[in-house]
Each structure stands twice: as C-alpha cells, then as structure tokens.
C-alpha cells in the first residue's frame, strides 16, 4: 500500500480531492450527478483529454509544446480544403489527413528543436505564432461551414432517454478520446520506446550514453503530440460543425496547467496517464460545478487559477514522506 502511495502520490491526492468535490457537488447542485450532465461533461472534455495525453508524452520527454492547439486549427483548415478538393472523402480519409498533417507539424517542431538545438519552449512559441499568423492570413479569419456531411454528422456511441424525456448522449469524440488515452498508455508504459522517452526526459546525457537515439525520441514525442493534435482537430469540428480559425487559440495553457496538475514534471522524466486524465477532469469538474452553482463565468478563470495554484504548490509535499515521519515518531 505504501508503495502504491509512493509511486502515485499526486494521483492519489488528486483522486481523493476530485472525489470530495464530486460528492460536495452532488449534494449542493442536484443536477451535477445526473446522467445528462455527466455525459455532456465528458463530451466537453474529450478534445482536451486528447491534447493532454499528447502533451504528456512531450513533457515526459523533457520538452514542452505551446503550439498544439493552434496546430489543431491549422490541421482543421487544411483538412477541410483537402477533403473538399477530393470530393468530400470519408472518416478514414479524415483520420488519415488530420493525423498525418498533425504529425508533420509535430515533426517540424522536433526538427527545429533537435536540428538547431533550441529549447522547446522557444521553438513552440515561435511556431505557435507562425501557425496562427499563417492561418489567419490564408483563411482571412473566416469560418468554414462548407464541410463534408460525414464530418459534421452527429454520431453517438451511447444514448439514453430518461423518464422526463431528457436525452443523455456520448459523442464519437469520447470514444476516440478513450482510444487515444489507451494508445498513449500503451506507448509510454508498455513499450521500450516509452521507457526511452522517460529516460531521455529524466537524464538526457545518461540516455545518450546508454545509446538512446535522441533525435528519434524527440521525433516520437512531438510526432505523437502532433498526431493527437490532428485527431483533436478532427473531433472538434465534429462537435462544433464548423471550422473557426481562432476557436482553439488560448486553449493550450489550460491543457498545460491541467497536465502539470496531474503530476507531469516540467523538465521531464515523470508523469502518468492516470494523473493526466485526473488533472484534466479536475479542472473540468470544477468548471462544471461552478457553472451549476450559478457562479458568474467571469469568476471561473480566477477560481480555477487559484485552485491550480493551490494544488500545484502542495504537490511538493510528499505523502509517503509524511507517512514515514509518522512512522518514525511512533
């Protein structure tokens, strides 16, 4: 038990706090613990979660990415143009286009970072601006409504109507998110590539001496982030049914904060899928709860910022150390 606590300190704490918040909300806001609310919560969090697991991989490998949300917008725009030019396409082509465009943008980041030895935060702030600038220039800031039907069609993976006739539904994006989460878990936890990513983030010189191919690791990390950004872009259009060039601008920092909240270490070598998912859900539930409690949306940002601050500053306190101290005393 102590072992589990030690390896998953942050995750345990987050899970406990999240559970407490959920209980408190179920009591104070009757709508919270209802199927319609929870399913819409999942629908709203799906895109964030897809980004988050991608970003987790980059953080584990010792990097950081600011450009992914804007990259998703770029992918949406390019994919919309490409798909229309091939007569509309279908889901398979959609995933193929968005996935590979995303990977290309990710690899561009990796190449700039590795090839020119520039730290990732500088590179991705630059690409963030470049991507956004180019996108606004070419799109003229105009939304695209003319999209293939399959892309904007509502697809539910779960439907339920309660006694009052209210529908609860889970979007396709939730299913895709689950696949992305599981795939990322397999990558970082179950494959040797994942172990090398951790090693590279933890001690780059040590990894190099062990023979880890640094260039490839950088490519895998940012390529995976790009793939997730591409998929997130695809799914976001499916939810909103249009391409809005600046819709995702600014979302990157929320996701980053949530992932760090989940225990991923800025500087590399540490982070788990569980923590990452908990971090995102923590923010989502808090937001949802404030909404249900009728708190002014203007206060949201402030409260969530404060919550993240408290959570992150207490995450240096190590539960297992506190336990050990107790044991030593007794």
């Amino acid at each position: 038990m102590r072992n589990i606590l030690r390896s998953y300190t942050i995750e345990t704490r987050l899970a406990v706090v999240l559970a407490l918040i959920c209980i408190a909300l179920s009591v104070t806001a009757p709508q919270f613990a209802t199927l319609p609310n929870l399913s819409s919560l999942m629908n709203q969090s799906a895109v964030n979660l897809i980004w988050a697991v991608g970003l987790l991989v980059v953080l584990i490998a010792g990097g950081i990415d600011i450009s992914f949300a804007v990259a998703s917008s770029v992918v949406q725009y390019l994919a919309a143009k490409l798909l229309m030019s091939v007569g509309g396409g279908n889901w398979v082509l959609g995933f193929l286009f968005c996935g590979s465009l995303g990977i290309l943008l990710g690899l561009l980041n990796a190449w700039l970072i590795h090839g020119f030895r520039i730290i990732s935060i500088v590179v991705t702030i630059a690409t963030f601006n470049a991507f956004f600038g180019l996108l606004m220039f070419f799109s003229g800031g105009r939304n695209i409504y003319n999209l293939p039907d399959w892309w904007t069609a509502r697809i539910f993976i779960f439907e339920h109507q309660n006694d009052q006739g209210v529908w609860s539904e889970l979007n396709l994006s939730v299913g895709v998110m689950v696949v992305c989460v599981i795939a990322t878990w397999v990558l970082i936890r179950r494959t040797n590539i994942g172990r090398q990513l951790y090693a590279f983030g933890d001690n780059p010189e040590g990894a190099r001496r062990a023979g880890v191919n640094i260039a490839v690791m950088q490519g895998v990390a940012f390529g995976w982030m790009g793939l997730m950004a591409g998929i997130a872009g695809l799914m976001q259009v499916n939810i909103f049914q249009e391409v809005v060039p600046n819709a995702l601008y600014g979302r990157e920092l929320d996701v980053l904060a949530a992932v760090v909240l989940g225990g991923a270490r800025l500087g590399g070598g540490k982070g788990t899928i569980l923590g990452c998912v908990l971090g995102v859900m923590f923010v989502a539930v808090t937001q949802n709860g404030l909404n249900l409690l009728g708190v002014s949306p203007f206060a949201f940002q402030m409260i969530i910022g404060a919550v993240i601050l408290v959570a992150i500053s207490t995450s240096n306190m190590d539960l297992s150390q506190i336990m050990r101290r107790k044991e030593a005393r007794s």
């Binding site: 390896s7 933890d202 001690n203 070598g269």
Partner: protein, 501 residues
C-alpha cells in the same frame, strides 16, 4: 588469476586522440586489456580516464585512432549500442542513472534501448534486477524511486546495472568513491570472481591501496599522455603516486601536541536517537582532529548536528567557551562554523554556475555596497585572493565549475568556506574522487590553516588520511567514540585492524 592466455585481448587501442576545444584530453594513447584481467587506469584528475572510456564506448568519437579493437576484432565506428552488443558495459563516474525511475527500471534500462518496438515486462524486470542485487549481496526496495536513495545506494544500482547483461569487459569509473567499506569489499570480491570467469575489468580509483590490491596491471596516464603500463606486483603507493603526478609525494606523521592552545569547540554527551550517542570531544585552536570509522558510524550525522542541520536529543556544545546550540545552518555559519560536505556534486557546488559565483556564494552579504548591490570589484578581489591562496588551477573565474577536475572543484569548495573566515572547519571526506597530487595540495592547505590557528575536524574513512594529517585520531563505531589514538604511537596497519575488525 588470469585464465586466458596473455595474447588474448579484450581491448586494444593504438594512438587514440581526443580533444575538447583547446584541451587535448587524450594524446596518441595506447591501451590494452587482456581477457579476464583486472586492469587499473590511473592518473590525476582531468588526465583523460573518463574520456578514454567514453571513446571506447562510442559516446565520444575520437579525432584520430589507429586502432580500436574489441575482443580481437577491429571496430571502426563504434556506438554505445554496438559496444554493449559486443559485451562492454560501464559504471559511469557520474552514474548516468535516471532519478525518477525506480531501482528496477534503472538496473534493467539497457534492455529497453533500441528502436524496434518491444513490450516491457515489468515482472521479469523486477526478478532479473533482484537477482543481480542478490549477487551483489544487497537488499534494496526495487520499486523505490532512485532519487529517494542515498548516494551509496545509487552507486550500488549503477554497479548492478553494469552486471545485468553478462558483459565481457566492464569499465568501472570510481565505483567505490561513495561506498561503505563492506560494500567496497563485496564489490572487490565480485570483481575477482568476474575476473576468474574471464571477464576483463578496467578499474579507475583514486584510492591507490585499493588499486594495488585488486589490479594485476596498471596503466598510468598524465595530461592525456600515456606514461606506461606496470605490473602491480612490487609497486608501492608512493611509486604509483609519483608516476601519476611526476613528483614524489611523501607521507609522514605530522602530529603535534597543543596543550596550551585554547579549546575552540567542545561537545559533551551529545546524542541523537538512532544515529549516535554519548559523544564528547574537544578541538583546540590550530588542531586537526581526525575522526574515522566505517561509513555509517554516525560521523556525518555528528557533523550535521554541529552545523545545526539537525538537532541533538541530549548533550550540549560549547563554541569558544560559550554555549552553542545552532538552530539552523545559517546561525552556525554566523558563529564561525564551516562545513565541507561529503556530497560535493549535489550539495557543495552549484555545478552550472561560475567558479567566481561558487566561491563567493556564502559571503555575498560581505560584498554589498551602500546601495545593497554586489560590488564587482570586491567580488573579483575576493575570488582572486582565494584562487591564488589555494592554488586552484582554472581558466577564467567566469568558467562554469563543471569544467574543473575533481581536485580543483574541491579546492573551490574549500575556498568558499574559508571566505567565511571560520573558527572551526569540518572537512567531511574531503578527498572523495580527488587524485593523489591534489590531495597532497589540499592537505598542505589544511596544515597551513591549522598553523594559523584554525581548528579543523577531519572526517575520513581512509585510515592513511587521518594518520598522516591529523594531530589526534578519534575512532567512531556504531554511533560512539570508542577510542582515541596518537598517530605517533600507532601504525597504519594497526589502526586499520582496529577499525575494520
């Protein structure tokens, strides 16, 4: 001990050169290791030992190399992966482990390297790494994150990692620097066993006694140049030291009596639960008091209490006759205490900062001008003073501390503390990883400081060190001071026997 014929080589290097910018780290060096041999690589700090290891394992590409031959086959381009496949493994001087991974993940990490995707078998990883640790006779929590472990246990993890894949040639770059005596003995036993099984070992250590004990031959390098290859039979520490540094280093007992000197520090009945108990000692001005015993005897813990880094459960201390109970290291420093810690790499120095910044870090408040800002001229003066005083060999004071060799880094630590103008200086294992020449230099300084009236507590687990550099020797075991010795009336072997018995 060698089972393989003498003409069978695990490794042959001919005329290998490697430079870093202006520094010629290796200059046309030849190096040969026979199969199954324990071969020592000796030389001063910065002479190129670690660089040679990095060239053989493909971490650095040499500028020029006439021949690099592993197990009888010439290899052209070598990479870390190829070296490992051929059967070479390394215990790195800086360990090169992964602090956020568990013990088992660290030990088994090399299996993960490569781009062909494979699945990770955690259970197998745990049993395999547990087996290797068992071979080393060590019990360790395999799922503990590495950065929770003390340095000695991390060293054991690095050793286990190198033994994981049955290598035929193992480089050990100062593997014993932070090990306890019993762990060192166990490692040396394993080295002998490996050697008997035909595994070649290249052993790097600044503890010359150890070198002469374990190795059959020793290759000496000085400033990147080969000095020669010598059998260890009939070799003495003094001779080996002379080969490494180019001049004879004499060791003689320098103990003297100081009956009239005032007592600077006194402890009475000091105890801390589970660490040490009933410790009473006196240090006079100008005296070097040696404190020895096995690692784990409670010496470092005692030093921490003296520095206010932990508090004693009972007993009391006097500094210059006045009651002394520091609540914090800052108050200890203010009252005239200085502490050169045993963990130079992580505690003593800010590795990425400059030599100058490291030197003045503990006295910044003395450098401020009326405006409260740091005076650059005063800082430069102070740095220049101490660098000259201690004879630190540096390029420029602005260079990062990490560019210095081990011995010179240690001198900077010393300078940093001396700049606080202490009354009592605690030196905790001050020569870990420091070469013989630099050791002599450091002890010359220590002696000169004592002559000026500084009281010095010298903590060391190397018997020769306390023997030749202190005025009195206290022997600590299991948290108690068991005996006091006068270096003039006891010999090194006698003292060793009492300590290791």
């Amino acid at each position: 001990m060698t089972t393989a014929p003498a003409d069978q080589f695990a490794l042959r290097l001919h005329k290998v050169s490697k430079a870093f910018g202006g520094v010629q780290a290796l200059n046309q060096v030849d190096f040969e290791v026979r199969a199954g041999e324990v071969h020592c690589l000796a030389g001063e700090n910065g002479c190129g030992k670690s660089t040679l290891i990095k060239v053989v394992t493909g971490v650095h590409q040499p500028e020029k190399a006439e021949l690099i031959e592993l197990f009888g086959e010439a290899v052209g381009q070598i990479s870390p992966v190829l070296a490992r496949q051929l059967g070479v493994s390394v215990i790195w001087q800086d360990l090169a482990l992964f602090p956020h991974m568990t013990v088992a993940e660290n030990i088994a990490f090399d299996d993960m390297v490569g781009l062909r995707p494979r699945s990770v078998k955690y259970r197998e990883m745990i049993t395999r790494s547990g087996d290797v640790l068992a071979r080393l006779g060590v019990q360790m929590d395999l799922s503990a994150p590495l950065n929770d472990l003390p340095i000695a246990q991390r060293q054991v993890v690095a050793i286990a990692r190198a033994l994981m894949n049955d290598a035929k040639l193992i480089f050990m770059d100062e593997p014993t620097a932070s090990l306890t005596q019993s762990e060192t003995d166990r490692l040396l036993d394993i080295v002998r066993k490996l050697s008997a099984d035909g595994v070649a070992i290249v052993f790097v250590s600044h503890r010359l006694a150890e070198v002469l004990d374990i190795a059959e031959r020793v290759t000496v390098v000085r400033d990147g140049n080969l000095v020669g290859v010598y059998p260890t039979e009939g070799m003495t520490q003094a001779r080996l030291g002379e080969l490494m540094t180019g001049h004879l280093i004499e060791n003689a007992v320098v103990a003297r009596d100081l009956p009239d000197a005032p007592v600077v520090f006194e402890a009475e009945g000091l105890a801390r639960h589970g660490e040490f108990s009933d410790v009473s000692l006196k240090i006079r001005a100008g005296e070097v008091l040696g404190l020895t015993g096995l690692i784990g005897a409670g010496r470092t813990e005692l030093a921490h209490v003296m520095m206010g880094m932990r508090s004693a459960d009972s007993g009391h201390m006097l500094l210059n006759g006045a009651a002394y109970a520091p609540s914090h290291i800052r108050s200890a420093i203010k009252q005239g205490m200085a502490y050169v810690s045993e963990d130079r790499l992580s505690l003593g120095l800010l590795q990425k900062q400059s030599i100058a910044d490291n030197t003045v870090i503990s006295v910044l408040h003395k450098l401020t001008t009326a405006t409260g800002l740091i005076s650059y001229t005063r800082k430069a003066d102070l740095v220049r003073h101490w660098i000259r005083e201690l004879g630190v060999k540096i390029g420029a004071p602005e260079d990062a501390i990490s560019t210095l060799s081990g011995g010179n880094q240690q001198k900077v630590v010393l300078a940093k503390w001396l700049a606080t103008e202490p009354k009592l200086l605690i030196l905790d294992s001050p020569t870990v990883g420091v070469d013989v020449g630099a050791r002599a230099g450091i002890f010359r300084i220590v002696r000169a400081l004592a002559d000026e009236g500084l009281a010095i507590l010298l903590i060391s687990d190397e018997v020769t060190e306390v023997m030749f550099h202190s005025d009195r020797i206290l022997h600590m075991a299991d948290g108690r001071i068991v005996q006091e010795y006068d270096p003039r009336t006891i010999t090194v072997p006698q003292l060793e026997e009492r300590i290791y018995a």
